[in-house]
Symmetry: C2
Subunit: 147 residues, 2 copies
Amino acid sequence: MRNENCFYCSGKKPLSDLMTEVIQLNFSTVYFFLDQKNPGRCVIAYKDHYRELYEIQEADCCEYIKEVRIVARAVSELYTPDKLNYAIYGDGVPHLHLHLVPKYKDGVSWGGPFSDKLPVVHLSDEDYISQIEQLRRHISKIMEVNK
Amino acid sequence: MRNENCFYCSGKKPLSDLMTEVIQLNFSTVYFFLDQKNPGRCVIAYKDHYRELYEIQEADCCEYIKEVRIVARAVSELYTPDKLNYAIYGDGVPHLHLHLVPKYKDGVSWGGPFSDKLPVVHLSDEDYISQIEQLRRHISKIMEVNK
């Protein structure tokens, strides 16, 4: 189920300005968020164009959440945040997607909502490549263990 | 699994200053958020003291999410928001709880994160009682249909 006006469905801009694909799972695509002011921040987008959690078939929603759990565990193990934040907003882009945002006691937005209005932090190309590859491998490893 | 320093576990202040219980489900307690600047806002707290989604047993996590879906459907049907926001933060209060925040195109924080820094909006006692009762009944009805 696709919506050509939705950038998660079409893969068109501004998707590539905001995030880079890490891995496709059975029920979701995992993206690495290019603004890394919260180190390890990702997006986990549902495979089809749904707006609300309860609109997805129950079993499929559980499978999606299982994938969110795996990515959350991978990010926790690699980045060791003090807390993860999980947010499905979508007022502007209603395709169901979850922002997985690691929070650090000495980092930005600790104790409050994470914010896209603070100055962005970009990495070097080498750092994006190595961190995305590391995350892809770690997600795959956890998937394999969970089989 | 309880933590006596956690207000979701103990039920102590400031819990009652922030929210009122709507209904206990098998894996969560649903609260009506007293600040109703986003009409219909609730909290769905997991029954035990866990921090992260992946720390809960997989099957229990799916049951929790099924309850989140039911409450989300109930709030959608009663309040007809333009979008629901679902957020698990917990930097300050790490007991796993999800803020279910209805967003309205002509309401506060549309297109951005909901905020607890904007002026609070309280209802009359009669309105709290009637809205909480209505929500309790609607959640129970959906639970019954889903059996």
